[in-house]
């Protein structure tokens, strides 16, 4: 009995900090993204990790296109960094005629923020890093 109790305590002791470590950044990121979304020129965001995804866009009809674009951009940037030995991808900005997308990876979380052309992406980047 004593042995069983000890092992259970060990599990609890081990699992607690891990759970805290994982939960904090994601919730922090989401809080930051919610704040960023209120800023001028911000269209919305996509936050994804291995277990969940959160999408908040003003125009829901563009969700699929935006999701594919941001995912392709992150994959392409990783490929590019490998090809030219640029190390780890910090961020990628894809600017179109009307809109721009800022994508980055924070730990396991892939973040894409969609902005109007005039919006300050540097400010967004500072807030997230």
């Amino acid at each position: 009995m004593t042995k069983k109790k000890r092992s259970l305590e060990d599990v609890t002791a081990l699992s607690e900090p891990i759970a805290t470590e994982e939960a904090t950044p994601v919730s922090d990121i989401r809080t930051n993204l919610e704040e960023i979304k209120t800023w001028d020129g911000v269209i919305g965001y996509i936050l994804r990790n291995t277990t969940s995804a959160a999408i908040d866009l003003k125009d829901p009809t563009k969700i699929i296109d935006y999701a594919i674009l941001s995912s392709s951009a992150l994959e392409a940037s990783e490929e590019l960094c490998k090809l030219f030995n640029l190390g780890k991808v910090k961020d990628i900005i894809v600017e179109g005629k009307d809109t721009k997308v800022l994508s980055l990876t924070v730990e396991e979380n892939r973040i894409s923020i969609f902005l109007e052309k005039h919006a300050d992406h540097e400010k967004v980047l500072k807030k997230l890093l």
Binding site: I68, G87, D91, V94, T99
Partner: protein, 274 residues
Amino acid sequence: MDNEIYSFAIKSALDEIRNVCPDITSTFMFKENGEMIIGDEKTPEKTMVQVVDAFDGVFEKANAIGHVECITVDGSNGRVNISCLNDLYFVTVTSRKADINYVNTITRVLIPTILRLLERINPAPLKNNPVLPEIKPNARVSLPMETEEAVTETDEETEIEKPEEKEPEIKPEPLLPEPPVNQLIVENLGGLLVPSDTVRIDNVILSQWEELYQGKKIEEVEIETFDGKSTKCKVKPIKDSKYEGKGMVQMPEKIQLALEIKKGELVRAKPIVE
């Protein structure tokens, strides 16, 4: 100005940019349809093709943001910038310590200026389909250099000859224009009924070639790799619409093996006209 000179001008400019700014580690240009244009001497063709492939999905989905104008990838050891100049994408890879303002001043001013200049010298699109000189009926005849010199010498010694007297020296048979060279990306071609000696090329390119040779049907092409290997094979237009207009050549495995190339690599193709 033909395409080779055009490419040479751009290539020289890219090399010079790297000399002026050593923090630029690589520069090259490509067309939106994936057709390669030109790169500096230190950037391998293979790398350029891989970059174009990597961004294919981004360009495809860029309609959602109103087409790509600029892409910036920030890595821990450097940065890549892809900027759109008309229908061309200009790629600059810089080291981490590079002064971005200086790099931008050089690339965003110099390259558009050179392109504008080339456009003004010869207002033809910068593409791999070479710009061939317009062949007028009278201009088809060519006087060999020796003949021209001989005429000049005669002019100096005697009175001015009448134009009609030159006629016997003119060859009446029209000369065929130099075969155009197109750079194309290799794509696999397979299936049970696919002949192993035939490649498939974009119908637009075949039409351009046929137009150039006054409607003569192009049935054979010469494919040359950048390693210098070449082969002659039959040619037919691409059937699959998804490969149209993308600067691709569909090639059976047998030809790929003979040329020691594979899917995604770049080759040169030119028509064979007898």
